[in-house]
């Protein structure tokens, strides 16, 4: 078992909310005088225990895990779950309140791109300075300087002060330095959220390369499930400072996504009086039913989605049809599909439509239903009655940028080699 690189044991971190101490020297002295010298009650903190509990926040609570040498771990969780606090403790920036972290080998952390960069200095000087701050030696940076310059792709501008750089160039240079760090344990916080798609791909490729070839251990915090699943083997899910799940990356990520998807997938009404509609039409029930294999897996682009609905119809002998309109979250219409027109009597009318899997692109969507009489006159428009999120799924594709397009249908598409050049 000597291959464990990092061990985190019962780690907790408590923050006091509001000010720490009284914030001013005069009041702290006064407090010290009354409590320590005159042995009286604290003039500033007369709180009952419930107050104390309300004023403290456990950013981390009893977090334990072990990382083996050469493993890449993803750390996921919603905002405020304690991910950054965990990384800050492991990188020795803040102290834990309780618990221990033990490790083997040199550790470097990259919690921000370009820490220590000086706007006034040239790119070249900043490469050295930021390398030193991250713990590299002069010889190391010298040896890698050309590689760093090439990786950044901005060789021409290295003698210009970085204040004249575009933000993209700045980020490229900063990441290039960090990518050439050679610690035994590397800690990364959301650094890939910057830069264009091509550069992100380059960074992920570089990270994969170093972990596989050099046996480097990596801890990686990200909100991009795509990046986590593609890069990491293991995953830690933090929620409210506690470990919610840990283990194989696909299992944990799926649990996390299924948990995060709490959208408007179902609505129903018992009484027509409460239901949305008017004196001609009132909705009774509407639901989006994902047709996936396991009930707890998240909606992704492969999942076929069935929309079921029922409404009360208050008129006899009426020709009704319904349009199902899908919008992207930014409000663009993806499609508008009409149902068949049916002659209906007073009573309940129900409908069902299925959007096939492998058809929509990933993203957030909402659905509106328009009920129409005689295929021309509007009876009732029910706007934004359902909303949902489709996660990305790319299988073996090693490209991580945002996929273009309103839809991503799976079309028959083949490449065949038809001629070979003889040597």
């Amino acid at each position: 078992m000597s291959d464990v690189a990092l061990q985190v044991e019962k780690l907790s971190k408590m923050y006091r909310l509001g000010t720490i101490g009284t914030g001013s020297l005069r009041q702290d002295l006064q407090r010290w005088w009354t409590t320590a010298i005159r042995k009286k009650e604290d003039p500033f903190f007369q709180l009952d225990p419930t107050d104390v509990r309300r004023q403290t926040l456990w950013a981390l609570r009893d977090v334990s895990f072990e990382v083996k040498k050469g493993e890449i771990w993803g750390i996921i969780g919603s905002n405020g779950a304690g991910k950054s606090t965990l990384l800050k403790i492991i990188s020795r920036i803040v102290r834990p309140t309780e618990g221990t972290v033990r490790g083997r080998g040199r550790i470097s952390s990259l919690l921000e791109v370009g820490t220590g960069f000086q706007a006034e200095l040239t790119g070249r000087e900043n490469v050295f300075l930021s390398g030193y701050i991250l713990g590299m030696s002069k010889a190391e940076i010298r040896a890698k300087y050309d590689e760093i310059a090439a990786f950044s792709g901005i060789e021409k501008f290295l003698d210009t002060p970085v204040k004249r750089y575009s933000s993209g160039m700045y980020v490229r240079l900063a990441f290039a330095v960090a990518a050439h760090l050679e610690p035994d344990i590397l800690i990364l916080d959301e650094v890939l959220a910057v830069g264009d798609a091509e550069f992100q791909k380059k960074c992920l490729g570089k990270m994969r390369e170093v972990s596989q070839s050099a046996g480097r251990t990596i801890l990686f915090v990200s909100h991009s499930m795509q990046a986590v699943t593609n890069l990491c083997e293991k995953c830690l899910w933090l929620q409210h400072g506690q470990v919610k799940a840990l283990g194989e990356v696909t299992t944990v990520v799926n649990q996390y996504l299924a948990n995060a998807q709490q959208f408007k997938l179902k609505q129903n009404w018992d009484q027509p009086a409460d239901a949305p509609g008017n004196d001609r039409i009132r909705f009774k029930y509407i639901e989006l039913v994902p047709q996936h294999a396991q009930p707890d897996s998240p909606l992704d682009i492969r999942t076929p989605l069935t929309i079921k609905f029922e409404f009360w119809n208050f008129a006899d002998e009426i020709l009704i049809s319904t349009s199902l309109v899908l919008f992207s979250y930014s409000g663009e219409c993806i499609f508008d599909v009409p149902s068949t027109a049916t002659m209906c009597q007073k009573g309940i009318v129900s409908g069902e439509c299925t959007i096939p899997g492998n058809f929509l692109n990933d993203g957030s969507y909402y659905i509106s239903l328009y009920v129409v009489k005689d295929t021309s006159t509007s009876l009732y428009d029910y706007e934004e009655c359902l909303s949902f999120d489709l996660e990305d799924y790319r299988g073996e594709i090693k490209w991580y940028g945002k996929w273009w397009g309103a839809v991503r249908p799976l079309l028959p598409f083949r490449l065949t080699q038809t001629e070979w050049v003889l040597q």
Partner: protein
């Protein structure tokens, strides 16, 4: 799962910082950062200025001229046997070393909060780098002072005592540096915690200058009040500095030993406090 507490680890993070900090080997491994920071400060300090590093000399020269005019001519404070120009210049450059190193160190947590909260390195590197920068400036100013002394030796009737005593200058320089660094470290923890202290530092250092023989020689302080000035551990060092260079000053073993032991105790206390409290401060700033 976690039954492996007895195995050998390279490092361990617990909730309490050690009094002794991370130790010398770690500091040594970050020596490149120190050099890099000195270089950065130097480049930044004179970027886009017309006169550049010339300001290193202009600033004390202008101050010296003001002192000669105001204290020498207008107020008429005697500088003893030494020419006023040399007397004030010596006082000014040594005071600048103390002043810059102390005020610089005392605000490192506030000035570097953005870096300290994002990356770990031994925090002591930053004050060390600052001090190194100020020592380089001091060195340059000192060379200029030597030129002035040479001028007075060659072209005036002024005769100091044997120049060999100048070998005491590095000693004074080291003790003053340690004292300013130690005091600065102590105050850096305080200014990190209490914002009020920033003003105390600014005001205190200005008042302290009047309790230090910068603009007046010790020998003209009346016997009755001399002990007040001598309580200041900088006093005997300033006197020794002037005596070594110009042959003028009240130097005796008692006050010197007091200064040195004060400096050493202060250094110990402030290093311990800095190591113990420094890592907690990130939660506050």
């Amino acid at each position: 799962m976690l039954t492996s507490t007895d195995r050998n680890w390279d490092w361990e993070i617990k909730n309490q910082a050690s009094w002794w900090g991370s130790g010398l080997p770690e500091l040594w491994s970050y020596r490149y950062l120190l050099v890099g920071l000195v270089r950065r400060d130097f480049l930044l300090g004179y970027q886009q200025t017309v006169l550049g590093p010339l300001w290193l000399l202009l600033q004390p020269i202008m101050t010296m001229i003001t002192y000669v005019l105001v204290f020498g001519k207008v107020v008429g404070i005697s500088t003893g046997e030494s020419p006023p120009v040399l007397f004030y210049m010596a006082g000014i450059i040594l005071w600048n070393l103390f002043n810059d190193a102390f005020t610089g160190t005392s605000s490192i947590f506030r000035d570097n909060a953005h870096i300290f909260s994002k990356v770990y390195f031994p925090r002591l590197i930053v004050p060390f780098a600052q001090l190194s920068g100020f020592l380089i400036s001091f060195g340059i100013q000192f060379l200029f002072l030597l030129l002035l002394i040479a001028y007075y030796l060659l072209f005036t009737a002024w005769q100091p005592h044997p120049l060999g005593w100048m070998l005491l200058v590095p000693f004074v320089m080291v003790v003053v540096s340690i004292q300013s660094l130690a005091l600065g470290l102590l105050f850096s923890v305080l200014t990190g915690k209490y914002r009020d202290v920033k003003f105390v530092v600014g005001l205190g250092v200005r008042l302290l200058m009047f309790l230090t023989p910068v603009i007046y020689p010790m020998q003209y302080v009346t016997e009755k009040w001399r002990w007040v000035v001598q309580l200041n551990p900088l006093t005997s060092l300033f006197e020794l500095f002037r005596w070594a260079l110009l042959g003028q000053g009240l130097v005796s073993t008692g006050p010197l030993l007091y200064s040195i032991s004060f400096t050493l105790v202060l250094l110990l206390v402030s290093l311990l406090t800095f190591n113990k409290q420094g890592s907690k401060l990130i939660d506050v700033i």
